[in-house]
Symmetry: D2
Subunit: 393 residues, 4 copies
Amino acid sequence: MTELAPPTRSRVLAALRAQRIETASWAFGNSGTRFKVFAQEGVPRDPYEKIADAATVHRFTGVAPTVALHIPWDKLDDYAALAAYAKERGIGLGAINTNVFQDDDYRLGSVTNPDPRIRAKALAHMFECVDIMDATGSRDLKLWFADGTNYPGQDSIRARQDRLADALAATYERLGPAQRMLLEYKLFEPAFYTTDVPDWGTAYAHCLALGDRAQVVIDTGHHAPGTNIEFIVAVLIRAGKLGAFDFNSRFYADDDLMVGAADPFQLFRIMCEIVSADVLKPEAGIAFMLDQCHNIEPKIQAVIRSVMNVQEATAKALLVDTAALAAAQRDGDVLEANEVLMDAYHTDVRPLLRDLRGEMGLDPDPIAAYKRSGYYETVKAERVGGEAAGWGA
Amino acid sequence: MTELAPPTRSRVLAALRAQRIETASWAFGNSGTRFKVFAQEGVPRDPYEKIADAATVHRFTGVAPTVALHIPWDKLDDYAALAAYAKERGIGLGAINTNVFQDDDYRLGSVTNPDPRIRAKALAHMFECVDIMDATGSRDLKLWFADGTNYPGQDSIRARQDRLADALAATYERLGPAQRMLLEYKLFEPAFYTTDVPDWGTAYAHCLALGDRAQVVIDTGHHAPGTNIEFIVAVLIRAGKLGAFDFNSRFYADDDLMVGAADPFQLFRIMCEIVSADVLKPEAGIAFMLDQCHNIEPKIQAVIRSVMNVQEATAKALLVDTAALAAAQRDGDVLEANEVLMDAYHTDVRPLLRDLRGEMGLDPDPIAAYKRSGYYETVKAERVGGEAAGWGA
Amino acid sequence: MTELAPPTRSRVLAALRAQRIETASWAFGNSGTRFKVFAQEGVPRDPYEKIADAATVHRFTGVAPTVALHIPWDKLDDYAALAAYAKERGIGLGAINTNVFQDDDYRLGSVTNPDPRIRAKALAHMFECVDIMDATGSRDLKLWFADGTNYPGQDSIRARQDRLADALAATYERLGPAQRMLLEYKLFEPAFYTTDVPDWGTAYAHCLALGDRAQVVIDTGHHAPGTNIEFIVAVLIRAGKLGAFDFNSRFYADDDLMVGAADPFQLFRIMCEIVSADVLKPEAGIAFMLDQCHNIEPKIQAVIRSVMNVQEATAKALLVDTAALAAAQRDGDVLEANEVLMDAYHTDVRPLLRDLRGEMGLDPDPIAAYKRSGYYETVKAERVGGEAAGWGA
Amino acid sequence: MTELAPPTRSRVLAALRAQRIETASWAFGNSGTRFKVFAQEGVPRDPYEKIADAATVHRFTGVAPTVALHIPWDKLDDYAALAAYAKERGIGLGAINTNVFQDDDYRLGSVTNPDPRIRAKALAHMFECVDIMDATGSRDLKLWFADGTNYPGQDSIRARQDRLADALAATYERLGPAQRMLLEYKLFEPAFYTTDVPDWGTAYAHCLALGDRAQVVIDTGHHAPGTNIEFIVAVLIRAGKLGAFDFNSRFYADDDLMVGAADPFQLFRIMCEIVSADVLKPEAGIAFMLDQCHNIEPKIQAVIRSVMNVQEATAKALLVDTAALAAAQRDGDVLEANEVLMDAYHTDVRPLLRDLRGEMGLDPDPIAAYKRSGYYETVKAERVGGEAAGWGA
């Protein structure tokens, strides 16, 4: 990288220092595919141990100060105690994620199930999650519905939309004035014919109907092949309806690989939209979350790497020469405009991030520092016996 | 097919008799890919000859009484004369399609071009098309924008949305109270990185901002792989925002093959949503249009076949036992619900449609009747010399 | 359907009577997605009960006389006893499917694992399966490898091909002269970056290197979006390398829905290639197998329906007027050729199949007969306690 | 970039200096989509002017010393004169590309057409191209067939394979001992149902049947969504059947954008396979060609940028620490192996390439040097009148 002008460097470093990335408790537990969950050693056995792992990620990266919970995987009697434990470890509790897809009752759907008893059960779970938010002080209720159908004719698409709208309205109503609803969409899986919230348009339409505190979540792995995600980012920002990201990456479907691993250029383009709209800063209200499955790689290290990948993409986005870009765009100079963007992308920002970490009192190389810390060896030795956390518990 | 109960048969036949499918003037001209436009014999050389072909389709099918025009491909001095000619031939003029993609000025976009001069030019064309609607008595202004970018950085996604919104608002304002704006979306092509209206969500958001007379057009070939089109149909009907279809079919991208040729089961599922929402009838305001390219097959015959394919899918959709379906759905009987749908789909409705045509005073076999009519031989002999119509003229 | 000419009818009925479809033992056990396996009642708890279910499918359809086993899910001490039990129930044991993806050792691959110890373990399993084939009298060893990588750089693509070739050669060597190796390919899942046998080309190249008794398996759900499966069918038949189908259907990825449920027209086109190459008959050596997951629908009934769907597609393919088709193709009459094909597809063949079943001494309506039989109520009552079969056991 | 060890630096620079990238004559002419070809100024009007443009690309990049021709777009009476002109300008003539898709006769195919007269005509064109190779001294005959069908039933898939095999065999037979046949595959377009050479497996099978001098061409834009191209690269290299690349990039279908513009990480992964198999050097026999359409951007500058993009991806691939990578792969250290690869990818190689150009006596910044050269202004002034070259001429 050619030397940055001091004001640019200050601006970029300040933005990177203020950046916030939320980790997910379930990323530290075991995960897999329908074919196999490969067990790893040292995996947490309860929410407290997940918090400890998330705090470790923050300790080495400095920009991951909150961790999202998933109910019932992180269900406890005393959330205040968990919050206190997290605080002690240097982090806070983030979004509350509902789960209305792992009960035999939800075979044909949760809030869109044709059976009103099951819809009521799902709604009660969502209310319970709002109660938990009250206890944890979480701002965001994140809703992802596995609801859908597998066969043409199985259920009425429209009737399911009506049921969905009803459940969302009741839940929205239940939120406190400082709480938000974040609605996630996904093209398919586990439903294989229709999915009740399959695309951003559907999520957007429901959020519009609900009100200002309902916003859309973009999971970067939840789109049809060929979808331009940064376009959706731009359009949702323009509409004031982008609430959060679930970051991960994919080559095929919802692969849930480490963010930035499959298409780092796409991640950069997404962050360019964020930076150019000036909504990177936490007060802009967009939550940047990781939602990944580390099926075959060590989990804590993978989360650290993921945080770093987001930082690198962000740093590159911050380096875009916006004046030169705007001029080239205005002039219709296609190659020059592209070149301005690529110039930032091709820059090696790792030295800058090492400097940032130094200024923040962190080791410039989080992975190496984590490995040297012996944390993994410790938990591997300690976390023996009991049941390793996973998607089922 | 087992015998239909007389009331069912009457209901189905009445619905099929009332069905209206709009053909497209450009389907009768030459078309092709970027690699080659294969010239065919007997192709019309002006809008009058296109009208004659469209009237021929209606003459043999009885359900295609209007033809859409495309400006400037169908540009004329006297649209009243063209309308009179159409009337004489037994059909009417349908939607007016704008074209802001075939002038060198539109290299970087039309209404979203960074250059205000070019945006103004594009807007003037849209106003001109509203003037033509006034002359033809057309209800619908159909807008498809090729606008987009080919390279990351080439232009600002958000700025282009703002420019698009401005142009749509000005055009909407210009419409008379009985006129509608139909906004079409398309994933890609000719733009290869971003497209300014790439999906139903974007079209929907713009239409919402405009008002009641702005509605979305679903072109069945304009989606990402794996997109569930009937879901979009259902959601847009529920929102009161489905204005029209551009029917065609595809295996890969925007292949523009004859509707029903690639996936007849999908077409049936789409028509099931239409029938179940009771919006098949013309007064429901949804226009069912064909938008196809008959690159290698004879054009008039292909359009007749396409109309028949839509009729067959519709007939099957009308045969669905809605009470049995609703019961199976309510009971969560996945296989029974699917079976009820498939029972209608597997029914051979061609005898029923032959009966319908007999009752309508038509030949039961439109293709055979068209071939026997000698129409093609006549136009092949007459349409010699001059320039065959195509996308350029 | 217009009356078939008696010779046509005889030919079609004879072909349908001779048709053989192999069911899969695992289809009767519980299955699901990574999100949830919904438990069903009456699910078999051991291979014997699976055999009983498979025999029930054959009892009502008459064309499913064998069932494939999966090792270790169907592992037993005494396969001869199992074979005898099957015979008693009226069916036989079919292909043996290996499983080298569900041991923690296989986290980074089985036969392509960088660790030679694990490769040897995987190979030993494949040898064991050949031993089982000797015991069951099975002709076919079906190999599907989950092997691949999740991250760029994780392993050498070429080195893995070399390891794969070695394992295949050793296994092929181990086969008896009347035994075959069937090699399956799959685009992705569970591997998310590279898969070691991702496409038919790779499977074909390995089978070519092995010899005549190595052939390719086409799983209809294992392709990239837009892949023309019937093309692959035609090309592999032409090369003498099509060994088997794993039938199922999908809208998105490897959804494993009932065959014919997502795109019945595609299934028909596939069967047209089979029929036109005259390789439907069992002596042509192509095994027609079902490989599906009935996650939310009742399993036995779903398998019966799947068998019927294959029969219906086959019946339609048998009805194609081959002389008319060949003539239209030769004349370059695109629409006529398409029409000849569609004429067969649009025919309602269910009456013909009902007649076939009558002639075979079966109930014309297998689903209704199965429901009336009380089989499901009986097994639901009997199969209480124990552990329901699934992918893990 | 941290300082490279001198031996590494020497090795990398030597490889980059030896790299050869072939440009395409048609990239300098006008191109577009079926919707519009936007005319640009200064476009060549004959093969000589195209050569001049290609020579200009080589003058500023130093690694593009040959240009491929396309017949009949570059048809001439005297190819020796053209070759002499090229030589004078510092470049040579490369591969000869056939065109059997732009004659009305080829509406239903060329070498696979059901009509033997048309097949003979297509074959004669291929023979003519071999004659041209003899005149130009070209080594490679590059074959891409637009052949396929648009509608199910239109023609026999197998019969077309037979006809294709015949035409390939006759053409292969016609080649001299120092000449090669390069067979390209493409998923779809302009055919929309079947394509006769749709995937690498089909091309590979035909090349195998032909002999050693028949090899496969990978066009990076010709795959189904989700296809792992570097896997195909690795497999074809392993089989000794990779003959050439047609480089370009795409977000959707065959977008033909500048290589490296859509997914630079993918291009890097492809080059990693090339480098790791040591087949970058020209004597390895793989031709690295550009095949792109510069529809909206200035063409010469776009080709220069494309050459640079390939150089940058290559430089990064050359920087991979192969020992560290092999060790991490052997140890099954997923994250470390990925990290080793990403370390090379994240390196900013532009300073290294500037150094390379300096050592080669070139301007370190080819784009700036080209702009300063006034070449474009000159040709814009000179190339007035006449007919601009395009796909039609």
